[in-house]
């Protein structure tokens, strides 16, 4: 391949890929909007089952974990811009660890609810609660899998242009999940506590 030929990767410039990814993120926002609407319609349909009885401090710890993880993802991006692979990897691993801790807390909360007979089949309210929070959790899990693939890819090939682009997309995704979580914290937990 001669030097003058731009590869497809370069022609479809990074900005095109980022635009495409933004549009995808918007569709995901609408998906969550649908789930929020469902939750708001069904939140009083408890059918003599439990209301949320929101444990605010538990949700607050989850929030702090996720927001800190997002902050670390930002640090990772700064490290990547400074071309420092070592600190980039450190930040990524830390961000991933906090994300995994978040997922762990969410799983423990879900297990506790199901074990006490208040699983998603108990009432319309619980169906919508599990689905909304669980869909966010699923997204975080996908983000973690993506992060692992990204770390492997950077370890294999270094900070190539393609890896740099993947890193930018992943961090967009990770911040996006934060924003969704802020809404969940407000609408599910704060509103559930009042």
């Amino acid at each position: 391949m001669s030097d003058t030929v731009l590869t497809h990767d370069e022609k479809v410039t990074d900005s095109t890929v980022v635009l495409g990814f933004w549009i995808y993120l918007m569709t995901d926002f609408i998906l969550f909007a649908g789930l929020f609407a469902t939750f708001l319609v069904l939140r009083t349909n408890t059918v003599q089952g439990p209301t949320l009885n929101a444990n605010l401090s538990f949700a607050l710890v989850e929030t702090i974990l996720l927001l800190t993880s997002s902050f670390l993802a930002g640090m990772a991006l700064l490290a990547a811009r400074a071309n420092s692979v070592r600190s980039l990897m450190t930040w990524l691993v830390l961000a991933g660890a906090l994300g995994a801790a978040f997922i762990g807390m969410e799983i423990s909360e879900f297990t506790r609810l199901v074990a006490s007979g208040n699983g998603p089949t108990r009432s319309g309210f619980l169906s919508s609660y599990f689905t909304l929070v669980g869909t966010h959790g699923l997204h975080v899990t996908i983000g973690l899998l993506w992060l692992i693939a990204l770390i492997i890819s950077i370890a294999m090939r270094g900070l190539t242009r393609a890896n740099m682009r993947k890193l930018v997309l992943w961090s967009l995704f990770w911040h996006f999940l934060d924003i969704v979580w802020i809404f969940i914290f407000t609408i599910v937990y704060l509103m559930g506590a009042v």
């Binding site: 391949m1 001669s2 003058t4 030929v5 731009l6 590869t7 497809h8 990767d9 022609k11 479809v12 410039t13 900005s15 095109t16 890929v17 635009l19 495409g20 549009i23 995808y24 918007m26 569709t27 995901d28 609408i30 998906l31 909007a33 649908g34 789930l35 609407a37 469902t38 319609v41 069904l42 349909n45 408890t46 059918v47 089952g49 998603p120 089949t121 108990r122 009432s123 319309g124 309210f125 169906s127 919508s128 599990f130 689905t131 899998l145 693939a149 890819s153 090939r157 393609a162 993947k166």
Partner: protein, 643 residues
């Protein structure tokens, strides 16, 4: 849980077809499938098929495959329509017609589902793939591999629908599967699950296509193609794809929640346990109404290309055409409630949505007038696309007026769920969307195959479709006003409806004749293709796709065009911009089979979920995820062409 159900889920011998007609459908489908496989093997075309088509990331190839699949599904949906007409023409008084009530319910559910999701959407994405990159002066789409994934997800959904012919049954809950009927309590068979997963899978493909083509149009227009120089078809595609990315996530949510109800025992839309079935109807139409504009906008776009070319004039009111597209896009999210005025949302809510529904007819009217103004004082050539346009403009306007009638909530209380409604939306979808796509096929066929279709066959087909349509749906308007509701599998003889149903049946027979002419045309034209060869620009076209060879080279443009005006090819005096240096090196994506593999694995996942074969579902999902990850690790996905 015993071993058999662990391996086979809910599958057992009783899922095979139960009636002669159902067997007929199943055997026909299996035989057709085997015949195709045999043919490919006999003519040793497997390698060719794999190399040239299945693994191709060329949007032109993908577009042709979309249209082929849509054409096949049109036959399937058409057979359903014939059966419905035969049933309603004969099932009167003491006769119970040709199919059982439950089979009839499956037929009308399958008809609607197939025609919207696998025919109309298939044609739509076919045209988008074929035309948009050429029209905007690009060599490719923004994400070629994603495009292949979209297509194969569409195929996986279509395959799932067709599998329901042989294994199990299809949904009996109508094309939008309203709960509580579609809930497990009232639809215990796998039919609704087939419906759910075929739509979920193909809908995901549509969503990804939406992202892809918005990015393509925003980012990959040729140098100099400012927004107000963008060809009208590409404008309508941009509008339609914007609706896709806004509306399809709502469909994804809605289908997922119903699947959770049915498969995991949740209570979103159930009659008990704190579900809210009215929420389903709101959600599905918050997607469903934009969906009809997703379909019609590109058809409008095709007419906006066809009318100027065959009138020898530029499009009248280009700016107002662009504005009206975006007015429709915007307004289409504020009318969904008119599908269920009778639900009881109250007078204020109904009034709001009634007014909005009447208002959305205004930008559509603007378009109609602009096309007519384009024709006015033009040198009109009565080629087939123009005939389809004129058929469209008469029928669509009448159907639109019927729609405005139903936009009045008090009138709608009478007409809701009547055959008047059925006639209305068929007028919009058949004489709007489908006629538009037929015009598009005729118009662009020479571009992609290098020869024209035969005009005599085409004219015969057009008149059969037009007359057949009027015969088939005219009586339904009258029947609706007489009180006939939709989805009747039987009615009493003294109602006096039978003659109208018989006329409607004759109408469908005439449409079938038109379809036969179209197939015959294709066969005939392929056979005499050496005599029908065309050059770059057989219609005296105006946009950039007519500047390249027919069929276009895989890289579309040897050197990328530079656009100086609207109707770039026309304005360049048919030279200049398209020709150029021929010593470029062009890089294109390498073929990849991973799109087809992902489609196949997702199909297995869908089939596994439908029949509760969990190992298969997990295998399919895991395989698809691994394939996606493997693709992201691929390097060297480009190849270079030296000209």
């Amino acid at each position: 849980m015993n071993m058999t159900s662990l391996i086979f889920g809910k599958l057992n011998w009783s899922v095979l077809p139960q009636s002669p007609i159902a067997w007929g459908g199943a055997i026909f489908m299996v035989c057709a499938g085997l015949l195709i496989l045999f043919g490919i093997t006999y003519y040793r075309r497997w390698e060719w098929l794999w190399r040239e088509w299945i693994t191709s990331l060329d949007p032109k190839r993908i577009g042709i495959m979309y249209i082929t699949v849509a054409g096949v599904m049109l036959v399937r949906g058409g057979v359903d329509a014939i059966l419905m007409r035969m049933q309603q023409a004969t099932s009167v008084g003491s006769s119970s017609g040709i199919v059982s009530a439950s089979h009839f319910q499956q037929i009308f559910s399958a008809h609607g589902t197939i025609m919207i999701f696998f025919v109309a959407m298939g044609f739509l994405f076919g045209f988008v793939n074929l035309v948009v990159p050429l029209q905007i002066g690009s060599r490719d789409v923004a994400f070629p591999f994603l495009n292949s994934v979209s297509f194969w997800l569409f195929c996986a959904g279509a395959a799932l629908v067709n599998f329901s012919l042989l294994i199990g049954d299809f949904s009996m809950a109508g094309w939008l599967a309203y709960p509580p009927l579609s809930e497990l309590a009232y639809s215990p068979t796998a039919g609704v699950d087939y419906w759910l997963w075929s739509l979920q899978i193909s809908g995901l493909g549509s969503l990804l296509s939406g992202v892809n083509f918005i990015t393509t149009i925003v980012k990959m227009r040729a140098k100099g193609m400012t927004w107000m120089r963008l060809p009208m078809f590409s404008w309508t595609v941009l509008g339609s794809m914007s609706l896709v990315v806004f509306a399809f996530p709502i469909l994804t949510v809605t289908l997922a929640l119903l699947a959770f109800d049915r498969t995991l025992g949740m209570h979103f839309f159930t009659a008990d346990g704190g579900g809210n079935m009215m929420m389903y109807v709101n959600l599905i139409w918050a997607w469903g109404h934009p969906e009809v504009y997703i379909l019609i906008l590109p058809a409008f776009g095709i007419f906006s290309e066809v009318v100027p070319v065959f009138s020898g004039k530029k499009l009248a009111g280009y700016t107002s055409m662009v504005v009206s597209v975006w007015a429709i896009v915007f307004l289409s999210f504020f009318v969904w409630l008119h599908h269920f005025f009778t639900m009881g949302a109250g007078a204020d809510v109904n009034t709001f949505f009634g007014i909005m529904t009447a208002v959305i007819a205004v930008p559509t009217g603007v378009k109609i007038f602009n096309w007519l103004f384009t024709m006015y004082r033009g040198r009109i050539r009565f080629e087939l696309p123009m005939l389809w346009f004129m058929g469209f403009v008469v029928l669509f306007t009448l159907g639109g007026v019927a729609g405005v009638v139903m936009a009045e909530p008090p009138a709608d209380y009478q007409l809701h769920n009547s055959l008047f409604l059925v006639a209305h939306f068929h007028t919009m979808i058949v004489s709007g969307v489908l006629f538009g796509f037929f015009a598009g096929i005729w118009y662009w066929f020479p571009k992609f195959f290098g020869f024209k279709l035969d005009k005599r066959y085409g004219t015969a087909a057009f008149w059969c479709w037009l007359i057949g349509f009027i015969l088939a749906f005219g009586p339904l308007y009258i029947l609706g006003l007489m009180g006939a509701t939709r989805r009747l599998d039987h009615y009493s003889a003294n109602l006096g409806w039978q003659p109208f149903f018989i006329i409607a049946g004759i109408g469908v027979a005439v449409i079938v004749l038109g379809f036969i002419f179209q197939v015959a045309n294709l066969v005939h034209s392929v056979r005499v293709r050496r005599h029908n060869k065309v050059g770059n620009d057989p219609w005296d076209g105006r946009t950039l796709e007519w500047s390249v060879a027919s069929p276009p080279p895989e890289y579309n443009f040897a050197s990328l065009p530079i656009v100086h005006a609207r109707d770039a090819w026309w304005a360049s005096a048919k030279g200049g911009s398209a020709s150029g240096r021929h010593n470029e090196e062009i890089s294109l994506p390498k073929n990849s089979g991973k799109g087809a593999i992902i489609g196949a694995l997702v199909f297995l996942m869908g089939f596994g979920i439908v029949w509760h074969i969990w190992w298969l579902a997990a295998l399919g999902l895991l395989g698809a995820v691994i394939t996606v990850i493997a693709r992201t690790f691929e390097e060297d996905t480009e190849r270079v062409i030296h000209l």
